[in-house]
Amino acid sequence: MKIIVAIKQVPDRDAQVRIDAAGKWIEETDLQYALNESDAYALEEALQLKEKHGGEVVVVSAGPERVGQTIREALAKGADRGIHIEAEDLGQRDALGVARLLAAAVKPESPDLVLTGLQSEDLGLGQTGVIVAELLGLPHATLILHVEKTDAGLTVKRELEEGWFQTIELPTPAVLTIQSGGNKLRYATLMGIKRAKMKEVRRVTAAELAADGAAVAQLERVSLPQKQKSTQILSGTPKEAAAALVEKLKFEVRVL
């Protein structure tokens, strides 16, 4: 089974973010980056499928130079090789534009399965996998927690809202977007990190993929969210703040 996992490098969850001077995105200098969480689950699912059925796991990611680090991390966890789509202008591309790059890089690989996380932690559009499926003319399923290979293709467990699930049967090749929590994530071993250095990462530029198209939606401005409530901050030492909160719970909220 040849599996391609599309992964994204996103600002680290705990990184302090500041709006940039142009007010169009965040200040990227000195920003810490990490692998998008649901993409980590997609990679884990791919590695487990490979362990069960054999084959190859290829990771693909688009972005500037720094993305190479996230690709190496995926290789250290066990992916066999990587494809780095070099693109400095990811921010100017909409979801369709990014999906076009990924689809163009994936297509010549002719994979049996394409996996990606259901949503990125930065833009949160939650669309890339579905658009890639459409562009490649492949069937897809989203919010997948478990993948089973069958004689006819795949049986997957899909999460629905409010604690409901369903199974879906679909033929391969197919695209799945993976929900977090279906597996336990592995860490890279020392041996894995050592081996990752020897693994192939093929670089391809956005221009070489010739998958451009005009953006049809644009992020024009970012701002701090408006507060929906005026929060009363209880300050002081932990003990003082706790005492102040108990007063509120007793006399204002009346739950004590």
Binding site: L96, G124, T231, L249
Partner: protein, 323 residues
């Protein structure tokens, strides 16, 4: 191109609340831009849903009907709506941001050479669409620049369902051309996960724990607080993903929706998927080390600090207050 088309979804044979919210958003766009409003229902037997819609809706109701649409499939819905959009040429298509819409609307948009502007929380004139970025830490304003229809999905709770204008609508039927071979996936009937033994929905007091707790070994810290308060213990998704608490204690879009008198969020940053499950709480208290965490946007009271110091102090103070 003209008009605003709202795609309505049903839940167990009834039109879902978020669909009415999408109608309200569509109404807002139609009024602001002077466009007509219509609604689409998709299925194999949409007669009663159309009747329900037409009592609370003043535009045209379109029943998109085909035997192959009896059960949702991404292929079936994409084909049907693609044909409807080509026939009606709406300028805007508004969806409720549900798991189902997330499954097919991006493909539908791509087929139209467009993108879905997803999970929109506000619509300004011009129009500009506001959506949350970086898990709610920033807001982003998006503008549609394509030449085709503008596709938008609206977040649960962002628009008031009762803002949908009442009226009696004209009902028409649209029959798409679908071949069984075009539907490549075979879905099963939905089923419940585990037997839900914890009913957080009726709890009056909830202490909820998030990623800030760092390790499974630290969970007893918040369990002690919940016990002292007489509250149910709940969690955000990552805690349940890690198996530190059972899935049935998860609050959020994929877990339970709660509306207690007190929701005490410990180490929860407040990603959108969590907030939709708890923002109906009467009083929200947040304990978090990050003063910019989105949870503070909806909290009534906040303590900015290290939960490993604040929570034990709070547990002691509550025990003392209760005597």
């Amino acid at each position: 191109m003209s008009g605003v088309l709202v795609v309505i979804e049903d839940r167990a044979g009834k039109i879902s609340r978020i669909s009415w919210e999408a109608v309200a958003a569509g109404q807002k766009l139609a009024t602001a831009l002077g466009l007509s409003l219509s609604a689409a229902l998709i299925g194999s037997q949409t007669e009663s849903l159309a009747a329900e819609t037409s009592t609370k809706f003043s535009g045209k109701v379109i029943r998109v009907e085909h035997p192959l649409l009896a059960h949702y499939t991404a292929d079936g819905f994409t084909i049907a709506l693609h044909q409807l959009i080509q026939s009606e040429s709406p300028a805007y298509v508004v969806f409720p941001h549900t798991y189902q819409v997330r499954d097919y609307a991006p493909a539908l948009a791509a087929r139209l050479n467009e993108v879905l502007i997803s999970d929109v929380v506000a619509i300004a004139e011009e129009p500009a669409f506001t959506r949350q970025l970086l898990q709610g830490r920033l807001s982003g304003n998006y503008r549609h620049t394509g030449s085709g229809p503008c596709l938008v999905s609206v977040q649960a709770g962002a628009f008031r369902a009762d803002a949908a204008a009442a009226g009696s609508a004209e009902v028409t039927v649209f029959t798409p051309t679908i071949d069984a071979a075009q539907i490549r996936t075979k879905p099963s009937e939905p089923f419940r996960g585990s037997s839900q033994t914890v009913d957080l929905g009726s709890a009056q007091l909830i202490v909820s724990v998030g990623r800030g707790i760092k390790e499974a070994e630290n969970i007893p810290l918040v369990q002690d607080l919940a016990t002292a308060l007489g509250a149910e213990l709940a969690a955000s998704r990552p805690i349940c993903d890690n198996g530190w608490l059972p899935m049935e204690r998860q609050v959020g879009s994929s877990g339970q929706s709660v509306a207690p008198k007190l929701y005490l969020a410990v180490g929860i940053s407040g990603a959108i998927q969590h907030l939709v499950g708890m923002k109906a709480s009467q009083c929200v208290v947040a304990i978090n080390k990050d003063p910019d965490a989105p949870i503070f946007e909806i909290a009534d009271y906040g303590i900015v600090g290290d939960l490993f110091e604040v929570v034990p102090a709070l547990t002691e103070a509550i025990k003392a207050a209760k005597g």
